[in-house]
Symmetry: C2
């Protein structure tokens, strides 16, 4: 049975603010009746939306503020001037223990900078990462980092492997998740130095997953591993290329099914089946970028999401709390750092680089 938990929602974040966040909370509550919400934002806009959903109203508390972080606000400005913003107050609620997690649709940079400053990193974690799920042939795959850290040395990549493996185990129930390092396959070039060094360490240490070596870009949609580890530059490009290619394919398909009366008739007949295919690739289902490695659960919702998409991000946050993600990952990181083989591998890398 799900545990009772409170989630702080930045009601003003994203392109549509409370118009998406409040109904999104309503949908999440339908799926999981043990959720409570702190709705942080403009009471004048939130209250009427709550009145329309008495069940949600009973499960919610409004924390009023007039201050909003614009969706394109620079992280530095958000940090400096955002003290009373809906985003900041929602994060503060996690810091203060009023909520177990926070979900916001503001821009990634502002959210990460503020969450990092307020919540701080878990002991042993140098840098938090953004993790997300992707659709694959037989289910879905977890990838990190999706853009928080551009350049990552081997130690950071190894930390990501732990963050990701614990996430796959805790949230997805995969007992011994396979972990692959994203690399390029050509024989001549065996990838960059960091990736090779990280592979050497991961082959040498005990960690809460099974390191299966390098994978290539096409292995991601194939679902070759449970967790893909990469730096934030590559991960961000991979995420967006996948999104863009899926959109392009949908466009070609839609155009094809409108290209002649016959094709249109066929499309109508096949609609049931095609809708299933559409659901399998529905990016709303996969919404919810997890900020892993922070001392508090923070999930970023895509700014353009609708209520259903936002409810999925809430479910992601609820899952991390329910499975005690942060406690587990802190323990695993501590165990990693206490391993002789980790310390010596790392020292060897350092020496080699010097």
């Amino acid at each position: 049975m799900p545990i009772t938990q409170t989630i702080a929602l930045d009601a003003m974040g994203g392109d549509f603010g409370p118009d998406v966040v409040v109904p999104g909370a309503g949908l999440a509550l339908k799926e999981n009746s043990s959720l409570k919400f702190l709705l942080v934002g403009d009471e004048k806009r939130i209250a009427p939306l709550l009145d329309a959903n008495p069940g949600l109203k009973a499960a919610s508390t409004i924390i009023h503020t007039d201050v909003i972080i614009a969706n394109d606000e620079k992280p530095s400005v958000a940090l400096r001037n955002g003290r009373d913003s809906s985003m900041r107050l929602a994060i503060d609620a996690v810091k203060n223990g009023q909520a177990g997690s926070v979900v916001s649709g503001v821009n990634t940079g502002a959210l990460m900078a503020t969450a990092k400053m307020v919540l701080k990193c878990l002991p042993g974690i140098t840098r938090p990462a953004i993790a997300g799920s992707f659709p694959t042939r037989d289910g879905n795959i977890l990838m990190l980092d999706l853009g928080a850290n551009i350049a990552c040395d081997a130690e950071i990549l190894v930390q990501f492997a732990v963050l990701g493996a614990v996430c796959a185990r805790a949230v997805k129930g995969i007992q011994n998740p396979t972990v692959g390092l994203l690399n390029i396959g050509s024989e001549e070039m065996k990838g960059n130095e960091q990736v090779r060094a990280a592979a050497a360490i991961l082959s040498n240490v005990d960690f809460p997953g099974k390191f299966t070596g390098f994978i290539e870009g096409n292995d991601i949609p194939m679902g070759k591993v449970n967790v893909v580890v990469t730096d934030g530059f590559t991960g961000n490009v991979a995420l967006k290329v996948a999104e863009g290619t899926a959109a392009l394919m949908s466009h070609f398909m839609k155009t094809a099914l409108k290209s002649s009366p016959l094709a249109m008739a066929g499309g109508l007949l096949a609609m049931g089946g095609l809708k299933k295919a559409k659901r399998q690739m529905d990016h709303r289902y996969y919404n919810g970028g997890m900020f892993l490695g922070l001392n508090g659960i923070c999930v970023k919702s895509h700014g353009g999401m609708d209520a259903y998409g936002f409810s999925r991000a809430i479910a992601v946050a609820a899952g991390l709390v329910e499975h005690g993600y942060n406690t587990r990952v802190a323990m695993e990181i501590e165990q990693l750092m206490n391993q002789e083989s980790f310390v010596s591998s790392l020292a060897a890398q350092m020496t080699e680089r010097a």
Copy 2:
């Protein structure tokens, strides 16, 4: 009217050797009757295939060799032991002026290492890049580097921009191609140092395209620019993620159209339209990785290609020769290096880094 030109074909490269290369040459000849071929490889296997196509036989010369580079051969081994291999002799034919270009399906690493050693780089080019075309909404887009250079400093990225822009102009007939630098979009992180430095230089110099700034991964399938410039690590991942996602979408679609008798009937009715969509994404059409920046035209065909796919790689090589790609690009690189703004931007970058 197309010019008469001779193309050296590594008849033994790729997964199927002459069984794909010879019919592939036949298809290319049908499209462009001014082509001549040097077929390099095992005469016993090539000759019977030529006998089946008298027109192709008349346009072809066999250069016999028994030595074959295995598709998974390491570049260093291919270099050392491959002196009499079909791949090496085909490249030698370009070096010696017997052929204007070479097409091979062996592994990228071995082909690039050998081509680089035999043909050398064009004056002013530090490192050759691999460029390829991708399908987009309204046509196609050129991207480089796809895996030859893992780490690229700003100067290399600027050279890639010139290599790519001249290619788009020469081969695709785009007079003033738009060029974008692949980056990640988050506000907080404005990309890595190299990408930012390259952007600063490209904004400051005259080159044979129009630099439009940064683009993101999803802009590639959208076709936002004509040429995408990135390092070989990111480019290789982007290429493979796009391929994998397209394959995944096709899989979902096929499954959907088999999910019920109604869906199957619809799929049959819509088949004409769906086939068009399939053609638009047909990776065989986009086959042919161009090794740009070498003092000789070299094109890599995907190892698993069929005859149609191989014929497309031949067409790519023929196009580069026909449009005098190497002469044009050498001229443009010289002009770039003579620009005061280029020299001073570069010096400024160097100073900043030091």
